[in-house]
């Protein structure tokens, strides 16, 4: 029986981790740790992280880890996979990294059905840099660069999994989970990573996650914003699941 409540694949030396109190991104990584444990892939995988709060996870796991410029984690991961096809590559990025500066990489990686697993945190803002507007910011949601709230003129909230479901092959796994639903997200991760292991190709899980610091929310308000407001615009579920 383990003495702690931490996933076995978490690096104990770097705990407590560097994420803010109540961070949904950290919760998503705890559940990823559990998935790594249950699939028993700690020694076979490569964890790739972006710039953004995701970078705070560079020492999260006892897993070989790579990292590069903001938004470029996917091509780095694809390159790694091509050089070492037996590695299980899991890329972790924010919504700024994946849907804005690195959107072209996400698009092309998905279109090519590259056999990597991408986990993208949707916290409706650019968190690391102080809460600016992101592609995923909700309409009327206030950010430091949209002080009156996002208007339609700044674009509609961006639905990544829905777009990817349109452009990917039938072998791709596409889902949206939420960090506050432990069992469901755990299953999504496991299916996504298995899709890569079983050689079907690309897999993607967007994870709705709280950012209490930039949302300026307490515990209950954080949960409500993620589970009610965000989930209304970003429906949770599997969009493509070849494994069925």
């Amino acid at each position: 029986m383990p003495e702690t409540a931490l996933p076995k694949s978490w690096n104990k030396e770097s705990k407590p981790h560097k994420f803010c109190p109540g961070c949904g991104q950290a919760l998503a990584l705890k559940i990823l740790g559990q998935a790594i444990d249950e699939l028993d892939i700690q020694k076979k995988m490569i964890y790739a992280t972006d710039i953004g709060c995701s970078l705070l996870s560079w020492s999260m796991f006892n897993v070989d880890t790579i990292q590069t410029h903001h938004g470029r984690t996917l091509p780095l991961s694809v390159g790694f996979k091509k050089a070492k096809p037996e590695a299980i590559v899991v890329s972790f990025t924010g919504d700024g990294g994946g849907y804005a500066i690195g959107a072209q990489h996400l698009l092309n990686t998905a279109m090519r059905n590259d056999p990597i697993t991408v986990i993208l945190i949707n916290n409706a803002n650019y968190a690391m840099t102080g809460g600016q507007l992101a592609p995923t910011t909700l309409l009327n949601q206030k950010t430091t660069t949209a002080p009156k709230g996002r208007e339609l003129a700044q674009g509609k909230p961006f639905k990544g999994p829905e777009m990817l479901a349109q452009i990917t092959s039938e072998d791709a796994h596409i889902a949206r989970g939420i960090s506050t639903n432990y069992q469901q997200l755990l299953e999504m991760y496991k299916k996504a990573i298995s899709n890569q292991i079983e050689g079907r190709g690309f897999s993607f899980v967007e994870v709705i996650a709280m950012c209490p610091v930039n949302w300026h929310t307490d515990a209950q308000q954080s949960l409500d914003f993620a589970e009610i407001e965000m989930a209304k615009i970003y429906p949770i579920g599997e969009l493509k699941c070849p494994q069925k």
Partner: protein
């Protein structure tokens, strides 16, 4: 007057606010000042460091190797400030937060110190949020060339927006500043040895029939998610501290049904629930 000051603490402990207030006040009092925040990784994570310099002469470079004053807000600050200590450094620290085990590592480097029970005092008499301002009081007590009134002014300006929303914030901050100065002025090494707190043994295991509920204060950041997620309201904040000096939740085990919600929602792995069948 000390001119090179290093402050270090956890993100969220208010290290940068303290540094900013000192830098701004020095400028408005006709001194030169420079303030360089240094965070672990970009905005968050790691220990938050502030390099601060005050001088009547121009300041040419914002960093430095040895400090005249070092201010430590938390245990993790100790390794970060170690190299800045010299035999002339004044070391200011919160002796209601920092553990003896951490102080042991720098004991032989310290000649001159000021131990301030900032968090304990703030918690008891004011609010735990102003512990940093108590430490600010201790620092400015050693910056005699700058008028105290000017510090008050900057402090109130810094919190002006918050004071509009919650007027009591004004008195909490002014009270903390005065308390800090008073501790510094009355400080006597003979009475207060160079020590901190012992790593306290707090109750971590709770159990009944088939349920075991365990907490890990060394991981808890006090976010409160576990409390709002508990279906039976079995959790509440206790007086025991988590790793940031935050309140750590405790269970009323009679009410616990062992559902595990609290364990699942905790981003830090600070709760473990086991239910045997």
């Amino acid at each position: 007057m000390p001119t090179k000051i290093i402050l270090a603490g956890e993100g969220g402990q208010g290290v940068q606010t303290v540094a900013k207030i000192i830098a701004v006040t020095a400028q408005r009092s006709g001194k030169n000042s420079s303030y360089l925040p240094a965070f672990g990784v970009e905005q968050r994570g790691g220990v938050s460091l502030a390099y601060l310099q005050i001088s009547s002469k121009p300041i040419t470079y914002p960093r430095f190797a040895k400090a005249d004053m070092v201010v430590a807000f938390c245990d993790r600050a100790i390794p970060a400030i170690k190299d800045f200590l010299s035999k002339d450094t004044l070391f200011i620290y919160d002796n209601s937060v920092i553990k003896n085990k951490s102080l042991e590592k720098i004991k032989n480097l310290i000649n001159n110190y000021l131990a301030m029970p900032a968090l304990a005092l703030a918690k008891e008499k004011l609010s735990s949020k102003v512990a940093n301002v108590v430490l600010l009081g201790g620092i400015i007590a050693h910056l005699k060339e700058i008028d105290y009134q000017e510090f008050e002014k900057t402090l109130l300006e810094e919190f002006a927006d918050k004071i509009i929303k919650k007027p009591e914030i004004k008195d909490l901050n002014l009270g903390a500043l005065k308390a800090g100065i008073e501790i510094a002025e009355k400080f006597n090494k003979e009475e207060t040895p160079f020590s901190g707190i012992e790593a306290t043994e707090i109750k971590t295991n709770f159990s009944k029939e088939k349920i075991s509920w365990q907490r890990f204060p060394e991981y808890c950041k006090g976010c409160g998610l576990c409390i709002v997620r508990c279906p039976t309201k079995a959790l509440q904040f206790s007086r025991d501290s988590g790793f940031l000096g935050n309140p750590m939740p405790i269970v009323t085990i009679e009410k616990c049904i062992g559902c595990g919600n609290c364990m699942q929602i905790c981003p830090d792995g600070a709760i473990k629930v086991e239910k045997s069948t």
